[in-house]
Symmetry: C2
Subunit: 547 residues, 2 copies
Amino acid sequence: MGKKILLVGGVAGGASAAARLRRLDETAQIIMFERDEHISFANCGLPYYIGQNIKDRSKLLVQTPQSMNERFNIDVRVHSEVIRINSERKTVTVNSKEKGIYEESYDYLVLSPGAKAIRPPIPGIGSDKVFTLRNIPDTDTIKNFVDKQEVNQAVIIGGGFIGVEMAENLKDRGLDVTLVEAAPHILAPFDTDMAVIVEKELVDHGVRLILNDGVASFNDKGDTVDVILNSGQSFTADAVILAIGVIPDTGFLKDSGIELGAKGHILVNDKLETSCQGVYAVGDAIEVVDFVTKQKVAIPLAGPANKQGRIAADNIAGLTSTYKGTQGTSILKIFNLTAACTGSNERTLKRLKIPYKAIYVHPVSHASYYPGALPLSLKLIFNNEGNILGAQGVGSDGVDKRIDVIATVIRLNGKVSDLTELELCYAPPFSSAKDPVNMAGYVAENVLAGRVDTFTYEELNNFDKENNLLLDVRTEFEFQNGHLAGAVNIPVDQLRKELDKLDKRKPILAYCQVGLRGYIASRILTQHGFTVKNMTGGYKSASALRF
Amino acid sequence: MGKKILLVGGVAGGASAAARLRRLDETAQIIMFERDEHISFANCGLPYYIGQNIKDRSKLLVQTPQSMNERFNIDVRVHSEVIRINSERKTVTVNSKEKGIYEESYDYLVLSPGAKAIRPPIPGIGSDKVFTLRNIPDTDTIKNFVDKQEVNQAVIIGGGFIGVEMAENLKDRGLDVTLVEAAPHILAPFDTDMAVIVEKELVDHGVRLILNDGVASFNDKGDTVDVILNSGQSFTADAVILAIGVIPDTGFLKDSGIELGAKGHILVNDKLETSCQGVYAVGDAIEVVDFVTKQKVAIPLAGPANKQGRIAADNIAGLTSTYKGTQGTSILKIFNLTAACTGSNERTLKRLKIPYKAIYVHPVSHASYYPGALPLSLKLIFNNEGNILGAQGVGSDGVDKRIDVIATVIRLNGKVSDLTELELCYAPPFSSAKDPVNMAGYVAENVLAGRVDTFTYEELNNFDKENNLLLDVRTEFEFQNGHLAGAVNIPVDQLRKELDKLDKRKPILAYCQVGLRGYIASRILTQHGFTVKNMTGGYKSASALRF
Ligand SMILES: Cc1cc2nc3c(=O)[nH]c(=O)nc-3n(C[C@H](O)[C@H](O)[C@H](O)COP(=O)(O)OP(=O)(O)OC[C@H]3O[C@@H](n4cnc5c(N)ncnc54)[C@H](O)[C@@H]3O)c2cc1C
Ligand SMILES: Cc1cc2nc3c(=O)[nH]c(=O)nc-3n(C[C@H](O)[C@H](O)[C@H](O)COP(=O)(O)OP(=O)(O)OC[C@H]3O[C@@H](n4cnc5c(N)ncnc54)[C@H](O)[C@@H]3O)c2cc1C
Ligand SMILES: CC(C)(COP(=O)(O)OP(=O)(O)OC[C@H]1O[C@@H](n2cnc3c(N)ncnc32)[C@H](O)[C@@H]1OP(=O)(O)O)[C@@H](O)C(=O)NCCC(=O)NCCS
Ligand SMILES: CC(C)(COP(=O)(O)OP(=O)(O)OC[C@H]1O[C@@H](n2cnc3c(N)ncnc32)[C@H](O)[C@@H]1OP(=O)(O)O)[C@@H](O)C(=O)NCCC(=O)NCCS
């Protein structure tokens, strides 16, 4: 008889572990406990099913208990909640709908209980019109509600990935959608300068966006519920989606002897083993190492959960496999835009007092002369040693590709100089001879080498207006169409001829549309003895921020 | 007075070098010599302009002599052919349309003369209906011909990137197109198994495809030209596009003292300096190091040419910058398909006697439950140490992204195990929780670890049919719809129950649709004491090859 392995939770981490375990070991006895009715479902597809972008509900069920049993010989027990772990005697206590409470012993145990939506004790939160979204039953409830009732007004609390996806999908269903976010901007993994582009897309598509405001209380009115914000503002809603984050679903581990973090996350080593021998944990419920900052963090994402499930299985089966940390690479569709990021953002680095530099490029998705080229904005964050700390991208096309490439460079500990050397696919329908990633590398390299000194639009206020010259090097036409207050205009192509118009004693703050001409102007001016800084990202980055 | 720098050729490599030189050095005197009328044009866009996918001719001209002068203070001299380099006295001899023949001295010289289309001495090749495509004048000639004349029949000689792009673009113009390729398959950078998918796409779009046949002669008939092939087959054409490759345009370097390779390529060191002091060379005209095999090769691509131009400029300006080799990352749109590759293919590795293994995966471009998921085929080539030697991908969506990521891993000397750990962007519209690249990594890792033994469809013939069992583990329905001759069918989900039907002494050759179920079957069978190999890529790879 082989090893006896129990799994708690049968979705991303649990099902991945089970399948891999079976492939590695035909003789093991593998039992999967799942509290709910479904295993192996597509959590990430739930908002799109509600939005009717995914039409067929059965498509959400990647594996069923039956198929998992047939293919992988897994003993799948649904409606079976593991309510206690008795690590001393290596058993779990199960509360089964069918069989009642019983104990099951294990040689190895894999915990993948995931996380649950936060429901803080806000007055009135008990209203049956305040929903959260985590699993198939939640989805059915919300979808039935939207399908059947006269639902016109939706308020979404929380501008994270799920909140924004729900905003789009409910808008797709024709609802009037208000999105409320307590922070100064939505999408916490992004910095303000990038998140604003997404905010604009939401607003352009008719989503009412409320920032810097949280929910004070809900007031159920029978058919509707009033959402009263801290500011006093209030909205009447037919349905409220609460999407303000998740907490690990680890209540059942109290008194198990398994060490938990401050917020209830399971602590694991790099083999994903908990403090109890033979007990592994994966997925949203665990604390991981941030691949970039090396801090302990919780990053609830499907890719890591799947990979961790496979790694835990490897270790149980006797292969040595380690998890090296999570970068937080993530992506989101927002109507016609894509937003993606990897690694750390400025906010995190500031908080951790990790020094960094940031640059922006605003290239097009492929050769500008080939039809369909669309602008994208790419932000690269790196340190003085040239290590890449993070990247963020927003645009209509090709954002996923560029963030994937940078995520790969981060994972392989590559540097800014490596970005410049990458040899990526180029033909006009796909990219430019210098891919946006190469371009970001060039720009960063120039900053690192001191070939150009940069400032951001946000830093502009730090400069003394009197003693600096704000120089717009775009064409007269562009300048007339809008420029920064106080700027004087000398187009870059005339700069060499008009140098004598400029005062060498006055430092110059140059800018153009995206940063390129400002850089060229900086190079000209620097070499003629001027002190000059170029505004990274140019007027385009500034305009986004002023949205 | 600064350095005096001359450039020969004003397009990809030359213009990039010029722009970078100026940014690094305001004081240098920079003169660009270009034989033709245009500089800095989009070579790669030319087929699409002929096909009227790019409508506006002026979009092909990225920079003009005037704009290059205004922005970068470059003395651009068009219609000026450099006919000799006098490296002893550091001058070049120029034949100018305007000024006649003169000499110009240099401190530094950058050669970026590119390559020209091969026109072998085939009888009748002088016909004015036999075109090659390299620059704007060629483009104008072909486009005017197609626009004005009664052109219905086109024959394209050569199934390389330009030949295939021209096939698509002339088809888009409504022509009847025949593509003739002398090799057994088109697109030499790909292996047969991947190229066939492209061939099918061409045929499905009405291109007549002739393989294994070359041109014996052309026979001009006045309004048409007959193309007579080696096989005796002949086609009547209104226009012939000859696209059988390029040779370096380095005739003018004879007797210059600059060392050339056997085929006329300029030899350079890793700073891109030629054998003559102060003379640098870049682009299609040089021989480079193959990043993977470390062999000397010529890889005429725009990305490398642009990057090399910048590196040569850096070195001239006193920065130390090296070129570490070319991977040959390249990409092509073929009607609704994309084909991309990086690194070495099987053919090259066999020729160089470099041992390798290859696997295939056929995932979908993004989560299968989200609308628009399209299949793609990915081939990964690696060695026993887990180093990645090459990759090829074909599909309708997301191929560029996957090859870019693998190209990045190759560039950073990453391994198969790194592919499994990459944390890439995942949300349903963009990928799967395990990205196709992760999946290719898993499959390769299993092969390397000996967890599965694989064979390819091509190798099937090597096995003795009598003493091996060909086992189809797909469903009965799939089996009935078509299977390999001689196969017996036991669906993977029934395998454990039907093990006793199988003879342990007979090695099993398992296959499924794409390789996944065959792998699971292999794992089951191996652990029950059978000898088994799985057909990598499955029936799908086999079917492609049998096209
Ligand atoms: C709406 C939504 C959209 C998302 N979109 C994305 C996306 O686009 N990209 C992305 O990367 N990630 C996304 N995620 C996150 C992703 O789904 C999770 O990171 C991943 O599912 C975590 O896997 P897990 O195995 O840890 O937990 P889960 O997949 O949540 O599985 C945990 C399972 O354990 C069960 N369980 C819990 N406790 C017990 C117990 N005591 N006994 C028995 N069973 C128990 C639960 O019922 C649950 O079924 C999304 C999540 C949601 C909810
Ligand atoms: C139709 C077509 C499509 C292509 N598509 C792609 C693609 O999709 N992706 C890709 O990566 N690559 C593509 N390429 C290849 C790419 O264009 C080349 O690799 C790149 O342009 C090489 O740059 P270069 O500077 O070496 O040569 P070129 O760009 O060809 O420039 C050389 C210039 O030098 C001039 N010259 C030559 N000799 C002299 C002399 N003695 N004196 C003065 N001037 C001289 C020539 O007139 C020419 O203008 C394509 C090429 C063509 C022709
Ligand atoms: C589906 C699920 C059960 C995982 O099953 P899985 O078998 O591990 O994963 P996949 O079906 O992706 O297959 C991966 C395996 O097939 C192998 N494979 C894939 N394609 C192959 C091919 N063409 N040839 C050979 N092997 C192949 C891989 O090597 C891997 O096996 P390994 O882990 O032993 O190396 C689990 O991921 C799941 O429940 N998913 C849904 C829930 C979820 O993830 N939700 C969050 C995202 S929406
Ligand atoms: C256009 C051409 C003249 C090159 O000019 P270039 O100025 O070197 O290249 P780009 O316009 O791409 O700009 C790149 C420079 O701008 C900088 N840059 C780009 N975006 C920037 C931004 N937002 N902020 C600051 N700097 C930026 C880069 O750092 C780089 O400068 P560096 O080399 O000094 O580091 C040359 O590539 C060319 O002739 N191309 C057409 C021909 C061709 O390539 N054909 C084959 C392909 S179709």
